[in-house]
Amino acid sequence: MNLETTAPPRKNPDAGARGAASKRGGIARWLDDRLGLGPLLAHLREKDVPHHRHSVWYFFGGMTLFLFTVQVVTGILLLFYYSPGANSAFESVQFIMGQVRFGWLVRSIHSWSANLMIGSLFVHMFSVFLLKGYRAPRELTWVTGVLLFFVVLGFGFSGYLLPWNQLAFFATKVGTEIAGAIPIVGHTVLRLLRGGDDVTGVTLSRFFALHVAILPIVAVGLLSVHLLLIQRQGISVPLSLEQRKAPVIRLPFFPDFFLRELIGWYVALAALAALAALDPWPLGTKCDPLAPAPAGIKPEWFFLWLYQTLRYLPAKILGLDGDMVGVCFINVAFALWIFIPFLDKKASNGRRSPAFTAIGWSAILYIIGMTLWGHFA
């Protein structure tokens, strides 16, 4: 006998029907009576993900989120021993690496996971771009996603300085100098970032505040909207499949898709542990503001394409400062990137937009090409 189907719908939460719901535990029921989680759980139960030959790309968003979680956990752990300041930052990281049990592991995982997260984020962003996942009604998911991409680059840039080693010092000098090339407001931005005219302990304090307080708040805000929109609108079906009008197989999110994601996360975790154990992230030498820049110094790989772009610009373009032109061009490109869904009207109307596919591939090839060139140059 199935009581659940025969019992009348419960209108008054106090009016019994306890036998009917006896399957659910006391605490779950107590919470449900107060929070009304029913519709939410029903939504999760019905949530599904399109299953087709491009499905593999759907995993990179979840992968980025997983690696972000690793960053949050290991970042909080590092905060227990890290001490910002020109005279204590390097020493405290040294202490973490040398004295604290598993400290080397936590720090190496934080560094490696940061790199894998940025890699996964690039894949996620460009796969969404090429599958035109940004088209109406998902414009805001794209916008928050691109903003998150900028926030993550900010995390990478600010976190890089925190160990206060020689490489970090010059990376920050160069990076903030580039920001100084922005017309009109450049010098103000440079001083705002550095906390003065030079990169000093004051800059370290600012970058620390940025890295552990400001950027996390912004990231969590953007991420919440990003994820909420995905829950609300469901996963986009690629334009090419939608046009075929054939029904798309849908996979239940829980447990089918979720368990598949879990496998990916386990692989990522194993990769992280292996990388951190076999190739622990080096600490380098302590920052010495008077030492010359080491030979062959380069930014981290995810900034290499930007670095390479600026490096090969002539000193003067049409009588203007080459760096300034380059920085302006990059800023405009980034701004346009945010507004892609509003520019690609064809895709939003459900039509193919080969021009934007070409733009996407050009950007990918440009970034890969410039990165490789910068790496081997």
Partner: protein, 151 residues
């Protein structure tokens, strides 16, 4: 009989898979949790505490006075009693670890946090402290007063 067997088979498989899955989850939690707990427990401190420290020059402390000095990372209290003899203790109150001080007006060692009192031998005589102060040896080397661990 047969249908029952057929019905119970998937259940057994399900149970088996659930056990495997549960073991995997437990293993994951363990292998992540163990390093985190070890990490959070502070590493053993390198024995920074010295065996002896120079606390004062001879004649620096007048009778009926005291001085807080550093003994490794902990504070120590060197007192000079009214009769000119020296005494030394770790300055951490045995009640709740506040730093005690010498009170020339009362001729006692006093803890301001909860009004604990010790006599000039470090014995707890009034207020909440449960035990005497931990004693240090006072030695003289040339014209320096040294503090050393007892025993």
């Amino acid at each position: 009989m047969e249908p029952t067997n057929r019905e119970s088979e998937p259940l057994e498989r399900r149970n088996f898979l659930n056990v495997v899955l549960g073991a995997g989850v437990a293993g994951t939690i363990g292998s992540i949790g163990f390093p985190i707990v070890r990490y959070l427990l502070p590493p053993p401190e390198s024995d920074a505490a010295p065996d002896a420290v120079v606390a004062a020059k001879e004649g620096e402390l007048p009778p009926n006075s005291g001085k807080i000095v550093r003994f490794g990372v902990k504070p120590a209290l060197l007192i000079r009693r009214a009769d000119g003899s020296y005494g030394a203790f770790f300055a951490s109150c045995t009640h709740l670890d506040c730093t005690v001080q010498y009170r020339p007006d009362l001729k006692v060692i006093h803890c301001a946090c909860h009004n604990g009192m010790y006599d000039l031998q470090g014995r707890n005589v009034s207020g909440p402290p449960p035990r005497p102060l931990e004693r240090l040896q006072v030695k003289q080397r040339g014209n320096e007063i040294l503090l050393a661990r007892e025993g």
